[in-house]
């Protein structure tokens, strides 16, 4: 499974949204109905799945699904 696919799978599960809603430019709070606690939980699931650690400062910069994908790829040493 690609990073993109895995990220979307996690979002669908955590935020209880449909795959169709998960377009790359979708923003977690504005478009997917997440609140700040949802976001913390979502990031925790990503940390666990990808074996990475995301600091609170970095978390502030992750607004959309594409942001998350880019960030994880960078962290994993893959080109964004």
């Amino acid at each position: 499974m690609s990073i993109e696919e895995k990220v979307i799978e996690i979002i669908v599960e955590q935020l209880d949204v449909t795959r169709e809603e998960c377009v790359p430019e979708a923003a977690f709070i504005e478009d997917l109905g997440a609140d700040s606690l949802d976001l913390v939980e979502l990031i925790m699931a990503m940390e666990e799945n990808f074996g990475i650690e995301i600091s609170d400062e970095e978390l502030q910069k992750i607004r959309t699904i594409q942001d998350a994908i880019n960030y994880i790829k960078k962290k994993k040493g893959l080109a964004a």
Partner: protein
């Protein structure tokens, strides 16, 4: 003119039923809801039985995403509130939101969540703790989540008075309506403390029955062979309403709530004093608060936990308040069937008292094969009894020396 307060809606989730109808049928049939613990492995615990909620579908009341983040006591509260508000036919909107409040008690709050997240902390470190841990644990989040769901913006609170919490909540809600702070209140108590931590904690106090091989016979209030209470999950929530408000909207009225008493033993953190004078004063205060003669009371839903001390002392307290009339009273402990829902008990047992008035049937005390010395009231053993009751009491007493009592009577114009 003094405001009167009536009950217009009720909902419950408990070991014998997941609706008021199902529950009432089970209670009148004398059915036990106690069984072996299934939700975790009780190996190593002295007590391996409890009153668990069965066949309950949380997704009928809570979305999947929400469910992961709510402790069971909050899920039960939302389910009870859904049923009660629907039963009352109460619409909460812009016109009345500020006049509808929420007071729901819980003895312990999210104990299962504490247990689960603490093991995450130990095993995986602080960064793995769910951000929903604290809002799932706080006892007042039952009331909080209900108020959010229904947009109820009136008074909100959560008494945490151990096994009296549900009764303290209803007493407070009753006063809030009576004193004009609200026109309707969603109120009661819930608990979900059947967990390794909860059972082990009460076991350490030697408070629980260990009759593991006969779960349905384990809760034996007033019986010579009782050996402690049986822990249970669940509770009950009612809609209380100002009488004029209920009549204006043509609501069905089950009964009137007319009195509340609350006293402290100031004696011991867990044990009642001999004779339980605090309980007697609480019953007397509740009757006095509505100017009711003791002789008008026909039924008491007893605290009746089946601990060695409670049952004898509660009996003495009832005799002290009711004198000669105590021999004509029907007194039953529905905990003989449901087990003890701790903070949920007061919510649930208020519903029982209201149903007794409304249906003219008194549910029994099951397992009362051989009444103990000093337990010589009419506890309605084994079988339900058809009898018209004019007024009923609900007694609940909690650790910390709390004694809370409610008075209900048949509704008349």
């Amino acid at each position: 003119m003094e405001r009167r307060v009536v009950i217009t809606g009720m909902g419950t989730v408990n070991p014998v039923g997941n609706t008021v109808e199902e529950t009432w049928a089970a209670l009148c049939a004398g059915r036990s809801g106690i069984g072996p613990i299934t939700q975790f492995d009780p190996a190593g615990l002295a007590t391996k039985i409890a009153g668990e909620v069965k066949g309950f579908d949380p997704l009928r009341h809570v979305e999947k995403k929400e469910l992961r983040r709510l402790d069971d006591f909050i899920v039960y509260a939302l389910a009870c509130a859904d049923m009660a508000v629907q039963d009352a036919g109460l619409a909460i909107g812009a016109g009345n939101a500020e006049r509808v409040g929420t007071v729901v008690g819980s003895g312990i709050g999210g104990l299962r969540t504490i247990e689960k997240e603490h093991s995450v902390l130990e095993r995986s470190g602080p960064r793995r703790l769910s951000p929903f841990t604290i809002p799932a644990v706080l006892p007042n989040l039952a009331a909080g989540q209900i108020s959010i769901r229904y947009g109820a913006k009136g008074p909100i609170s959560c008494p945490v008075t151990a096994c009296a919490a549900g009764t303290s909540a209803i007493g407070m809600a009753f006063r809030l309506i009576k004193d004009g702070y609200a026109d309707a209140m969603i109120t009661g108590g819930v608990e979900a403390a059947v967990s390794a931590f909860g059972i082990a904690g009460f076991n350490a106090m030697r408070a629980l029955s260990t009759r593991n091989d006969e779960p349905e016979k384990a809760s034996r209030p007033f019986d010579r062979n009782r050996d402690g209470f049986v822990m249970a999950d669940g509770g009950g929530i009612l809609v209380l309403e100002d009488l004029a408000h209920a009549r204006r909207r043509g609501a069905r009225i089950y009964a009137e709530i007319c009195g509340y008493g609350c006293t402290a033993d100031a004696y011991h953190m867990a044990a009642p004093p001999p004779g339980h004078e605090g309980a007697a004063r609480s019953m007397a205060m509740a009757l006095q608060s509505c100017g009711m003669e003791p002789a008008a009371v026909g039924y008491i839903n007893a605290h009746g936990t089946a601990t060695p001390l409670n049952d004898v002392y509660e009996t003495q307290a009832i005799k002290r308040v009711f004198g000669e009339h105590s021999r004509r009273l029907a007194v039953s402990s529905t905990k003989s069937m449901t087990g003890h829902m701790l903070g949920g008990a007061g919510g649930f047992e208020a519903i029982v008292a209201v149903k007794v008035l409304h249906e003219g049937v008194v549910p029994p005390t099951i397992n009362l094969d051989d009444p103990d010395e000093g337990c010589d009231l009419d506890y309605v053993p084994h079988r339900a009894r058809a009898m018209s009751v004019e007024a009923a009491l609900s007694n609940t007493f909690g650790f910390g020396g709390v004694n809370a009592v409610l008075v209900f009577r048949q509704y008349r114009d």
